[in-house]
Each structure stands twice: as structure tokens, then as C-alpha cells.
Symmetry: C2
Subunit: 170 residues, 2 copies
């Protein structure tokens, strides 16, 4: 299946000059959602993952069906103040200023092998923050999986100490 052809490119969103990769056109196609999940799920199995971590909100959309596919749990990484129990916190850079991501302290065990899953690899900042959160818990990051990779933003270089895989490249 041509998964790349299911991604809609929208010009000048959220601002001028950006060619936004809209994954909703893939998600709404049941066959494409299945194929993408199965392919990413096989990657996660090869990496020996026994837990899936995904950042709010589009990481949830890719991460939870993948967790279902491999039969393991899903752990959400959320913006500050959303998770109700004790959390690890990591500050990360946005285009202007910084933001905070959190993960429950009791979400992972030190022997977990974690794949981080998100819809899009751009500069890698969000993924780097997720890696730090997982490593604070003592668990091991066995790789990061993405539906779409924007190769021209070199996120892969920033994350060069980790296994990075993506299904669709722009």
C-alpha cells in the first residue's frame, strides 16, 4: 500500500512557508491505519520492545494501536499538569521558549525495553525529552518509531545514539 500517498500536505499551516504533513487522511482510511500499525508493530517486535511510550496528542494515535498489536502496555507522556500521580518532568525547547513534558514515575520498571512512538520526526526535540523521561525511570530505550520523518530537519542526527525507524519519508 502507498502509505505516503495517504498523507495530505497542506501549505502554510500553521504558518507561512510550512508544508504541514496531515496524517488524518491516513488515519481515516481503515486499511491504511491497519497497514501502518502492522508495519510499525513489526519494527517494535524486532527491537524486543515490552512497553510503548508516546507523547500527547498525536503520539497517542500511533502508539496505542501499536501497543495493542504487540500486546504490551501504553504509557502516555503528557504536557505539564495533566497526569494525576507523581511524575518525572523534563523541560524541552520549543521554537520560542520552553515547555515541560511529564511521565508517571510508576509507569515503567527498570527492566522495561521501551519503544517511543510518535506520528512525526522533525527536529527530534520531543523525542529527546521522551527518552530522558524513560531513562529517569531506569528503563532502556530500544528505539524510536515514527509514521513520518522529515529528513531535511535532521532529527535522526540529534538522536544518533538510538535506533530510529520511520515508515514514510519526506
Amino acid at each position: 500500500m502507498d502509505l505516503k500517498g495517504k498523507i495530505r500536505v497542506i501549505h502554510d499551516f500553521p504558518k507561512e512557508g510550512i508544508r504541514f504533513k496531515d496524517i488524518t487522511t491516513l488515519l481515516k482510511d481503515g486499511d491504511a491505519l491497519r497497514a501502518a500499525t502492522n508495519q510499525l508493530g513489526e519494527m517494535a517486535k524486532e527491537l524486543g520492545a515490552d512497553a510503548v511510550v508516546g507523547p500527547e496528542a498525536r503520539g497517542f494515535v500511533i502508539g496505542t494501536p501499536l501497543a495493542y498489536y504487540i500486546g504490551e502496555g501504553f504509557i502516555p507522556v503528557r504536557k505539564a499538569g495533566k497526569l494525576p500521580a507523581d511524575t518525572y518532568k523534563v523541560e524541552y525547547d520549543l521554537e520560542y521558549g520552553t515547555d515541560v513534558l511529564e511521565m508517571h514515575k510508576d509507569a515503567l520498571e527498570p527492566d522495561n525495553k521501551v519503544v517511543i512512538v510518535d506520528d512525526l520526526l522533525a527536529t527530534g526535540g520531543t523525542t529527546e525529552a521522551c527518552i530522558k523521561l524513560v531513562e529517569k525511570s531506569g528503563a532502556k530505550v530500544v528505539g524510536a518509531l515514527f509514521l513520518v520523518e522529515l529528513t531535511y530537519l535532521s532529527g535522526r542526527e540529534r538522536l544518533k545514539d538510538y535506533v530510529i525507524k520511520s515508515l514514510i519519508k519526506f
Copy 2:
């Protein structure tokens, strides 16, 4: 499997007097995530659903594996300004003031039979907004499915014209 026992109740979050139902303890358990998805998925099949709509962000966590299970597409409902193409918009009430939810205009066809899926049925306000968005597109809402229902908040009464099902009741 005792799915209710997998929900963690946290007192005084996000504010005093609230007994917050934390679903992350269910999600991180691979067997519980599978069982909940399969049971909700069977309900969606019985309703004849051919599309799944879920609101940001926890609706994504329950809705996408369910869409995967039934082999149909997932359509996200998002807060204002997040979706890149033309959208329908619905204003809905919050505790203080109002907020706006959006869905892409081209997400559904008029002959779609839609299940709305969310983690939690409380007062039903978010679900009512999702129903309005689906009906603006001409599609039919065949039911709304929830992982958890807070029966004492009477959301089911507000949505009495629709089929409402939930797995776990408090």
C-alpha cells in the same frame, strides 16, 4: 479480567473533592489494554460502525486501537486551531466559559455509521459536541462507547437519544 480494578482513583485531582479516575494504570497493562479494546470493539461491531470518532486527547488512546480492531478508520476531534484543513466547529460548555471542538469537513461521508469513543463519560458535554460535529457532516451516530462511566453525573440522560455503552461504571 477485573478491568475496574485496573483504574486508579486519585483524590483531590485536579482539585479538592474530585476523585479522579486515572486510566493510565489500565493502559500500561498490555493484557488490560487488549481486553478493554476487544470488548469495546465488539460493541462497535454490534452497532454496525464503519468509522470511529474520538476527541483529543484521551479519546485518541481508546479510539485508535478500537478502530484498528474493527478495521475501520479513526477521525480525530480536536481543540480549535489544531486541524489543518477546513473544519466544522462546535462550541461547548466547560465549567467556566466555553471551548470549541473541530472536525475536518471531509473526514466523513453522509453514509458513514459512526461510533464516538472516549475514555470517560461524565456530564456528556464533550460527547454531545462530537455528536453535533458528526451530524453536521450528514453521517449517522450509531452509538457512543466509553471505557469508564461516572453514573452519578448522569451523562447518559443528557445523551438519551443515542445508544450509550460503557465498560466500567463508578
